[in-house]
Amino acid sequence: MKSRHVVRERSVHRGVAGLILTLLLAPLLALISSGPAHAVDTLCLPGPDKACIAGTIRTEDGPLADVKLTVTDEAGTVTEVTTGETGKWNVQVDKEGPYVVKIDEASLPKDLDVVKDNVTVKAKFGATMPALLTVRTASYSDSTSKFDQLLQSTVNGLRLGLLLALASVGLSLIYGTTGLSNFAHAEQVTLGGMLGYLLINVHGLNIWLGGLLVVILCAFSGYFQDRVLWQPLRRRGLGLTQMIIVTIGLSLALQYVYQYLVGAGTVRVVQDNPSVREFGSVTITNQSLVAMAISIVVLLAVGYALLRTRVGRATRAVSDNPALASASGIDTDKVIRLVWTVAMGLAGLSGLLYALVVNGVKWDSGLQILLLLFAAVTLGGLGTAFGALIGALIIGLVVEVSPVVGMPGDFKYATALLILILLLLVRPQGLLGKPQRVG
């Protein structure tokens, strides 16, 4: 109820009633915005012919009480004021114009540096003018070492890269086996996060169990998708460009399914703040560490499966020449379905980890990184799973590191894309792609 009776510092025609109310409630306000009773604790209220000058004296460690300040007007009249327990001070003046606020260094504790001991502010009737004075402890350093920053952002970059890699390996696998650029892949990534939200946050499942379930469900969604959509389309001999449009349509539909079901805002998979670990100057959350570890393990497993197993070879065979693959006894449909299943499982995992690491998921979370995924896949060489891994790491690093080395922050994605373009100029087949033979 009290909230409805809050002080409203209304101006001119607000009338006396308001003022009285204000005064009645002043103690309440004081409770909030300044400390308990003290010399300056009466709140300064600017009025039609009154101006306030106010501020807080603090170091980076906290507010300083009992610091003396002088406020000098144009005419040279000096008013003294002392800071309260919360470091706050204010003065009411009845002339407009410049005032010099100066700190009395003698009233400060010994080991402090006064960086800025006076400031001039222009008082205006009806307004509170803040005045800022800077006091620092002796140990204060003004900046972070560039090297530390670089280190931190490199770690962040690796983290982003690994998560991108999980998703882009799947994208690359699908491209590799079927030639399809799956624009709906982003929505699969989002799906991972969304399912995570529903299972872990809403239904309160244990995070590991929930995570496992998410991956299984996503993998199943891949299986299902191929069963009801992609396989029939392949059977009908739909062209690749057409298929791309189908993926675009699917992506649109899925985005709005998420909006419809979960809403347009960001939701979080777990509510807790991640706990932090420090390695030298680098801080990283436990969640990120676990996510990175999981990504590495999964990526290694996928890589091994691709290179060393029969099925892995089969996926590449199918991508090369599907007709011949089936003439070799490979059930191409089965292989492709497997690829969809695995790819979607990976995308789901990536989405879940991504949602955990970046602290939330939204209907367009995946869409935002879609281009990065494609860039990673291309950078590494289209259709080569390992290329996708390397490409993703590079993209992740560029995105995180480029702002540190001086690129404006809003160009960080643009920089990643630019690097991609430049690299393709030098190595058109991508990092791991092979040039093709003519004739």
Partner: protein
Amino acid sequence: MDTLQGILNGMMREAISPQTAAVAIAVIGLNIHLGFTGLLNFGQAGFMLLGAYGMAISVWHGLPFALGILLGLAAALIFALVLGVPTLKLRGDYLAIVTISAAEILRYIGRSSLLSDFTGAAQGIPGSQYREPFTNLSIFGSGSFTLIPFNYADVADGAAWVRIIGWLLLVALIVALVLVLRGRAGLAGGAKIGAATVISVVGVFLLFFLFPVPGQSTGVNGWWVRVVAWTLVAISTFVVFLLVRSPWGRLLRGVREDEDAIRSLGKNVFSIKMQALVIGGLFGAIGGMIYVLPASTQPDSMGRTLTFFCYTALLIGGAATIFGPVLGAVIFYTARIGIKYTLSAYVPSDWMNNQQTEQFSYIVVGVALMLIVIFRPQGILGNKRELRFDV
């Protein structure tokens, strides 16, 4: 009936909206890239953006309108060259990534606050800053103007069945157009084109006739920009028709099929692709200019989404066909509005609220898009036989 009429009116407005025309022109350009030359240009929105910004920035900063248009075209031309020189030697898929990336980079530059004095940053340039020279050219004079005097009284305000018949007629015309163009009507060569043109003209006239807002003013989003936009669509279509039925067009399709083969026949593949990229890009730029004339120039409005829509429109209409892009654009936008309005009018509000209905309608749009492509992969005008050899 009123609701139905409202929906039909909405669709009609969308069908002849200048932005539909703008997209149609951009798609005509994209058709040269994708349909005829096989260049996977996923950055058509980038070309549009350059055209739009080229014009808007110039006029905003006080240059003459004509110069603004030229600068917009020049920007697209340079973009095509800069993009083409390094990437046209790459394989098609890589071109897709490079173009989409380049277009995104353009968008990032457009919305960067570093250039805000020049580009207006994220918010872009308000239409009022650059539209005036264009509206001043209007042949309709200023203020309200009723293009077809009897339309409001006779049709738009009349019973809904008049409108429905109008629509049916229009659909019939489109079907006729499709039949003629796909050679089912037994016409060939000049007769075919002639018939197609006549049908199109009648169709456009019908559209205007059925168009429900009579008192469109001429300034911002009225008759003038519509007439200019659709005239440009017609001109673009005709130019493309001239281009692709010629040996030059044959070259394009050759490049689409196998570059090495074309090279071995002594044709300069790079130059052909570059010509295609530039021409298509210029159409994109013109589309971009039209796109922003009734609205405002904003970086985000010409991003990936728009490129995807262009692709969709192209494939719905039929890639590598002359009228496909225009038909596709009109159908895509009209159908989208139709779906939205129908759902919001007929889905009971205790099933879904306003917002959910809108969201649901996008789901339907997405699914409809998939279905169209699945069941008519060659597009409305496309040739099914060609698809068989899709590699």
